[in-house]
Symmetry: C2
Subunit: 89 residues, 2 copies
C-alpha cells in the first residue's frame, strides 16, 4: 500500500494521540481522514473513532467502514479502515 497522507495508523500510543492526529489532519485541510487498525488495534481504531466523534460531535460524519484481512508473516490478521468526513457548517 502506498502511504496516504490522510491516514492515521493505529499503534501502541494512547487513544488521545490518534484523536489529536486526526484533528491535526482536518486542520491541515483534509476533508476526509481514514483511521486504520490491524490485528488487536482494530478495537482501538473503533475506540479512536468513538473518542473523535465524541470530541467533534456534529463536526464529523462516518463515511464508511471497511473490513478486510492482510497477511502478516504467515498469519492473516484483521484490518479495519474507518473513513470520517469533516462536515462543513
Amino acid at each position: 500500500m502506498a502511504v496516504e497522507e490522510n491516514v492515521v495508523v493505529i499503534g501502541k500510543k494512547p487513544v488521545t494521540d490518534y484523536v489529536l492526529a486526526a484533528i491535526l489532519l482536518f486542520n491541515e485541510g483534509y476533508d476526509e481522514v481514514i483511521i486504520k487498525g490491524q490485528g488487536n488495534n482494530v478495537s482501538k481504531a473503533v475506540d479512536v473513532y468513538n473518542a473523535l466523534a465524541n470530541r467533534l460531535q456534529d463536526g464529523i460524519e462516518l463515511v464508511d467502514v471497511k473490513i478486510d484481512s492482510v497477511e502478516r508473516g504467515r498469519r492473516l490478521v484483521p484490518v479495519i479502515e474507518i473513513k470520517v468526513r469533516r462536515k462543513i457548517v
Copy 2:
C-alpha cells in the same frame, strides 16, 4: 438490547466456533446474520467475518458494518456489528 436470534456474539471461543455458529444460522433459514463483538473482541469479530467470507466465498455478501461504543461499568468500550447476507444463487 433485546436478544436477537440471528446474532453471533463473539466471546472467548476459537474463531471457527463462531464461523460455524453463523453457518448454522444461515442453514436454519436466516438470510442475514450479525456478527457482534465488544472491546477486544472487535478484532476477533472481523477475524470471524474474514474466515466466514473465506469459507463461503461467493455465498455471502457484506451488508453493513456498524461501529459504536457501549458503557461497560464506568468505561466506554468499542462495539462492532457486521451484517452479512446469504446470497441466493
